[in-house]
């Protein structure tokens, strides 16, 4: 059980504290400040620390620490899950980028939330949808149509705590996004040594009543089964299926049915949520290919040369990516012998059998497509040449930032730059951060996962 939750700012001052048990006191925060914040170990040392028989588990949201204190031997992963859930709840109430002042301004609300989500150190009800029904900003309460109290409290504890009754939309819509993050490891010659994809399927459901959804991916197991079921004369496209190594689901998905026949059925929460996460390690397509050559010429010059090739079909075009490329420092400090990269892309698909829509970006991935090449912190002057788009040195990112409006499939572009460094007395090793490329390629996923169908059955008969 958790003995107390503290919200602590960067200086170690308590913003809000809630003691659930008698075995800790407010002065614990001082311990936390001295031993954790003051020692500047956050981010490098483990976020779990035992000091004088009390264990501190903390996470960080912007400049705010959420600290759980306990004296017992509990399940640490669960505590972190709870803290992250708290962050999500705060986000739902105060907006995506809530900060210290937001918490201070709404501290009574924060207290209400802390009271309702946890009792005597045990998590209670953490479903945002339900919390929102009976914890609201107070001022709004009066204007709100008061629900029948008994109905409300049964909702608080009922089985389905992610959706409330009586949701109605004039227009029923569903958006689905497939977001993938690709990790690749390349050899110096450009061979891919290892790649895997961590994907996320995010759904925004604006549906009335209690819609029953059935969702289908091009999961290899299902595709094979369906292909086998069809007449054997037809040319079966086995390759269409993607082998998903493993996946996890949002709480609303009926897990029993997935294990039985791999159908994904659920009653969605209202609004945006992460339906599932998956991992694919076979047959990963990389949308872009980077060939960097960054040479430190002497002590105050760096020559940068990066070539980007789009690997996808020329019918598509790139909009929006993150590729981070780090080059390992060879032992001799000279040759590049490997590269590691991460690509994050999003295949954007919208499926709805109620309101068909053309695919369009829905989530907040609205960066202009750009490529960020890191340069040493003491960069003084740069001279850049690019074959398309615009590029310039942005000191705040310590990087050359190259923006490309539109990147057609199959094309190749290049950036070359001469970087002059300020002479410095101490020669500190440059950690060579990865090159980042942010992009968006509609209708393309690295893993090949796509949504085959989404069927919505409305049982309650709402329109």
């Amino acid at each position: 059980m958790i003995s107390a939750i503290f919200l602590v700012n960067q200086k170690g001052e308590v913003v809000v504290n809630r003691l659930y048990r008698d075995d800790v006191s407010r002065s614990m925060v001082d311990t936390f400040r001295h031993k954790v914040i003051a020692s500047k170990e956050t981010g490098s040392q483990a976020p779990i620390k035992v000091i004088e028989n009390a264990t501190f588990l903390y996470i960080r949201h912007h400049h705010l620490y959420l600290v759980a204190v306990t004296r017992s031997n509990l399940n640490p992963a669960l505590v972190f899950e709870f803290l992250f859930r708290m962050v999500r709840i705060f986000k739902a109430y105060f907006g995506e980028h809530f900060d210290e002042s937001a918490v201070r301004n709404h501290f009574t609300l924060v207290y209400e939330l802390l009271d309702e989500t946890m009792d005597f150190g045990y998590p209670q009800n953490c479903a945002i949808e339900v919390l929102r029904q009976y914890i609201n900003l107070g001022t709004v309460q009066a204007e709100m149509e008061q629900q029948e109290p008994t109905v409300l409290t049964s909702q608080i504890t009922g089985q389905i705590d992610w959706r409330r009754d009586g949701i109605r939309y004039r227009k029923n819509e569903v958006y689905i996004d497939v977001l993938e993050s690709v990790n690749i490891l390349m050899s110096a010659t450009g061979n891919v040594l290892h790649s895997d994809v961590t994907g996320q399927i995010v759904m925004k459901a604006l549906l009335s009543g209690w819609p029953e959804c059935k969702f289908g991916l091009n999961d290899k197991l299902i595709m094979d089964r369906e292909a086998a079921g069809k007449a054997s004369g037809a040319v079966t496209r086995r390759s269409a299926g993607v082998e998903i190594d493993d996946c996890t689901f949002h709480r609303c998905v009926r897990l029993g049915r997935f294990d039985a026949d791999r159908t994904i059925t659920f009653i969605p929460p209202d609004g945006e949520f992460e339906l599932m996460r998956y991992r694919v390690t076979e047959n990963v397509n990389l949308p872009f290919r980077l060939i960097p050559a960054i040479q430190e010429e002497g002590r105050n010059r760096v020559a940068v040369n990066v070539k980007v090739t789009a690997n996808f079909s020329s019918k598509l075009f790139g909009q929006n990516v993150v590729i981070k490329v780090r080059r390992g420092q060879g032992l001799g400090g000279g040759e590049d012998d490997r590269r590691e990269g991460e690509e994050e892309g999003s295949g954007l698909l919208a499926a709805s059998n109620l309101v068909p829509r053309p695919s369009h970006p829905l989530l907040s991935l609205t960066y202009p497509p750009f490529l960020q090449v890191p340069v040493p912190p003491n960069t003084a002057k740069t001279h850049i040449n690019v074959s398309t788009g615009r590029a310039r040195f942005e000191p705040e990112h310590r990087a050359l930032v190259w923006r490309i409006k539109r990147f057609p499939g199959g094309c190749e572009f290049m950036i070359t730059a001469d970087v002059t460094l300020m002479p410095s007395t101490s020669h500190k090793a440059w950690s060579r951060p990865p090159i980042q490329v942010e992009f968006q390629v509609p209708m393309f996923t690295s893993s090949g996962v796509h949504v085959r169908f989404l069927r919505v059955y409305d049982k309650s008969g709402c329109t």
Binding site: P47, A77, G95, F107, D115, D245, C247, S431
Partner: protein, 853 residues
């Protein structure tokens, strides 16, 4: 198409709080002076008259704001209590919060609010009922006890589940306030009944409360088949927090047979797909626990949980990832080979926090096998040049650890390490030298590859004494025939002795010089002389001074003897390649790891030490009393084939025993235990007694507290008082019991017919016996009989060994008592008989107090 209802607008949080913030920019957190509290007091007083709800809310908000800042506003208690009379739920919540915070400071005033709270507890709105009850229970004042009970009981049967769940939690609060009151009020039985509640939240809280109330005495709530099946059947209804509670129970349950075991596993399988890492880890714990009964199943379990763990790790936050990695590390040791093929998932990423990197590096070192070692070492070598020194240090250490485990890779690794010596980075070289030293200790035959390269390093590690000492040690140890430069490596150091500041370096220099002296006397003689002269005159370190003197005197006394002392045996034994198997540290780790594995999915795994080392005693959970089901007994005892009651196999499940003193004795002795059996009567023991005898002799002398024996005045006391004084702190090792049981004659055998059989297994019986000083060594339930082995020690040292059999059919209890004579005892058999009767009487008393007889 109807217009959206007002509520649906609320579901867009981004707009709403923003507006609110603009309309009403509150400035609660401004500088405060002393006077402000008084001002607030005034304000609150006027409020009582004014009845302006909005104003009231603002003022009370301000009070809470001060409270949050840590300003003492307890002076306002009276006024705040008055403010409780309101219909505004937000104000109510704030006042409740205030009360809970300051009730301690003003216990007498707190009584004022009881009436209102009690009234609220029977309000129409279930929300208000719940809130009031929560506040009432959270005041945590002993004086409130009498007021809590009635509303609490009412709440447990309330029609609203919200109130019920709050009520259940209230019991726990009451329990912490006054454990005796809560126990005597029979809440435990009530809670057991409430597990049937239709609402999952209520059930969750019941499990929580029962678990915590019973943790100290019985190691948590009792689990049985109907309960587990009931909960598992409703698994789908629970949210993730509830799931973990159920899973924690399942992790204590022993299924009746294999079929049930597989049913449970199948029911739990889908839970592995939830996205909550805490739940998944709990499920894994259940799987691992269930698989202990069927050893063949274990590899499959590890395979099954591999994918979910990796998925959680890949998509999680660093903090969660860290927890998972720690657990992964624990599992990797247990299931060698299972995770080997996923090594690429554990490659470090650039933007991870370092605590995750450290863990990954450590695990990579463990999962490297013959096939993957090339890739993994190459990868780790990349990290060696990392900017973060700790990452670099750890990866070099990891490379070394791989070499210890995989002899085939040692050559390749040593080559790579030698390569590191040339890298001009601060952290790399010293660590590499330290690792190389350990590798050479393990594989001395590899010295030819490593030594020549060390020469160039000596000067470059000046600022790192430990590495320098390691270098010097290697020179001394291996600098014989095939390393002619050895002495000349030491010479500059010896000549600049005065500039060496570290005692560690000086000590290793001394040892290395004298070792080399015996290998290469002509070159070393004058050098050693200079060094000894310098060191014996060194006043900065006593150790250095003394060691130099020791060597000097040894050499003066007898050079041959000195050679034997310094070089030891291994110079003689040339083929000593196989001497070092594992390092001693590694062996210690294995026992620790086993212990930690018992605490899977807790902080113990994270810290890498058993919970007893970081949790204060009052929070420790008593190791669970496992009531062995026939199935488990079948597995453990059926195989031993010895009329079904092998006492020692019961011991093997060490959860039966107090966690403390047992481990050390039990684990190492397993081979001798396996052969011996415990006899039903007193004559059957004919096992290999000679080695057991030695062992148990030692056991006895350890077990009998010496201070008791040496008190001469005590021997005059009468042994046979009816109130038997038994020593609480006495502990007996299973071996000792075993031995004594075989050796001693039966003092008394006694039969009694019971009215009823113990209903809840034997735990209540055991606890009551324990309170009288009779401890339980082992207990279990067979198909037709309950069995208990008990022991106790009289204040004067006399030992009592008791076996109790309860036949289920005839309800007959059979008690066999054996008495071990204490050393200073001089009485005849008469005294023995009397004390035997006293023990029997004591047990009869216990039985009748439990209404069994």
């Amino acid at each position: 198409m109807s217009a959206p209802l007002p509520q649906s607008r609320q579901s867009h949080p981004s707009t709403l709080p923003g507006q609110h913030q603009q309309q009403n920019p509150p400035a609660y957190f401004v500088d405060t002076k002393k006077g402000e509290v008084s001002e607030l007091k005034q304000l609150l007083k006027t409020l009582a008259v004014e009845r302006d709800p909005k104003r009231k809310r603002d003022v009370i908000k301000k009070v809470i704001a001060y409270m949050t800042l840590g300003i003492d506003v307890s002076r306002l208690f009276t006024e705040m209590v008055l403010a409780i009379e309101t219909r505004d739920l937000v104000v109510k919540k704030m006042v409740y919060l205030y009360l809970c915070n300051y009730a301690h400071a003003k216990p007498d005033l707190a009584l004022m609010c009881v009436n209102t709270l009690q009234r609220d507890c029977s309000a129409d709105d279930p929300m208000v009922r719940g809130l009031a009850l929560r506040a009432l229970c959270s005041l945590r004042l002993p004086s409130m006890l009498e007021y809590i009970s009635a509303p609490l009981r009412r709440a447990l049967t309330d029609q609203s589940p919200y109130v019920r769940k709050t009520g259940v939690m209230g019991i726990l609060k009451l329990f912490h306030l006054a454990p005796d009151v809560a126990r005597s009020a029979n809440f435990v039985d009530l809670l057991y009944n409430m597990i049937q509640d239709p609402d999952p939240h209520v059930v969750t809280n019941c499990l929580i409360v029962l678990g915590e109330m019973l943790a100290a005495e019985e190691g948590g709530m009792a689990v049985n088949q109907p309960l587990i099946l009931h909960l598992l059947g409703r698994l789908g209804e629970f949210n993730e927090w509830g799931l973990t509670q159920i899973l924690a129970l399942v992790a204590k349950y022993h299924p009746a047979d294999e079929e049930e075991l597989f049913t449970i596993m199948n029911l739990l399988d889908p839970v592995l797909r939830t996205s909550n890492s805490g739940v998944v880890l709990s499920t894994i714990k259940c799987f691992l626990h269930l698989a202990t009964a069927v050893p063949d199943l274990q590899p499959q379990v590890y395979l099954r949980v591999k994918a979910p763990l990796l998925t959680l790790m890949a998509g999680g936050n660093p903090e969660v990832e860290y927890c998972i990695l720690k657990h992964l590390e624990a599992m990797v040791h247990r299931a060698p080979g299972v995770f080997d093929d996923e090594y690429r998932q554990l490659y470090v990423r650039y933007n991870e926090p370092t605590f995750v990197k450290y863990e990954k590096i450590d695990i990579l070192a463990i999962i490297a096998n013959e096939e993957t070692v090339g890739d993994i070492v190459a990868e780790l070598a990349e990290y060696a040049t990392d900017v973060d020194q700790e990452v670099s240090r750890r990866s070099i250490r990891a490379i070394g650890n791989i070499a210890f485990r995989l002899p085939s890779a040692a050559g390749m690794i040593l080559e790579r390490l030698v390569g590191f010596l040339d890298v001009d980075m601060n952290s790399i070289r010293p660590e590499t030298i330290l690792v190389m030293r350990d590798i050479l200790r393990r594989y001395p035959e590899r010295k030819a590859e490593a030594l020549p390269r060390l020469q160039s390093c000596m000067r470059r590690v000046d600022n790192h004494p430990e590495a320098q000492a390691a270098l010097i040690w290697m020179t001394g140890e291996y600098g014989g025939k095939n390393f002619p430069e050895g002495p000349y490596l030491l010479e500059p150091l010896i000549d600049s002795y005065a500039t060496i500041s570290s005692a560690l370096v000086k000590l290793s220099l001394l040892t290395a010089a004298i070792k080399l002296f015996f290998k290469r006397p002509p070159e070393m003689q004058s050098m050693l002389g200079r060094l000894l002269a310098a060191a014996t005159n060194d006043l900065t370190s006593q150790d250095v001074h003394d060691r130099a003197l020791l060597y000097y005197r040894l050499l003066v006394a007898d050079v041959e003897a000195a050679k034997r002392v310094v070089l030891g045996e291994h110079e003689v034994d040339v083929n000593r390649t196989t001497i070092v198997g594992t390092f001693a540290e590694e062996r210690d780790m294995t026992t620790l790891r086993d212990k930690l594995f018992g605490e899977f999915n807790t902080l113990a795994v994270i810290y890498g030490k058993p919970s007893s080392q970081f949790v204060s005693p009052s929070y420790r959970i008593k190791p669970a009393e496992t009531s062995l089901t026939p199935f488990m007994m079948g597995v453990q005892i059926g195989d031993s084939g010895n009329n079904g009651n092998n006492l020692l196999d019961l011991h093997a499940d060490d959860s039966l025993l107090p966690a403390g003193g047992v481990e050390c004795g039990v684990e190492s002795e397993s081979p001798s235990r396996a052969g011996s059996t415990n006899p039903e009567g007193s004559t059957a023991y004919t096992g290999p007694s000679s080695d057991l005898l030695d062992m148990s002799d030692m056991g006895v002398s350890l077990a009998v507290p010496t201070d008791r024996i040496t008190t001469p005045s005590a021997s005059q006391q009468d042994f046979c008082t009816s109130t038997l004084a038994l020593i609480d702190s006495f502990r007996m090792e299973p071996e000792t019991f075993q031995h004594l049981w075989a050796e001693l004659p039966e003092s008394i055998s006694y039969n009694v017919d019971l009215k009823v059989l113990p209903t809840d297994g034997l735990s209540t019986l055991e606890t009551s016996l324990l309170s009288r000083g009779i401890k339980c060594l082992a207990s279990g339930e067979l198909t037709d009989v309950f069995k208990l082995f008990l022991y106790g020690q009289h204040e004067l040292g006399r030992l009592y060994l008791i076996q109790i059999l309860i036949h289920k059919l005839s309800k007959r209890l059979n008690l066999t008592l054996k008495i071990g004579r204490s050393e200073m005892e001089s009485e005849g058999d008469d005294g023995k008989d009397r004390s035997a009767n006293a023990v029997v009487e004591l047990i009869t008393q216990v039985l009748s107090s439990l209404h069994l007889s």
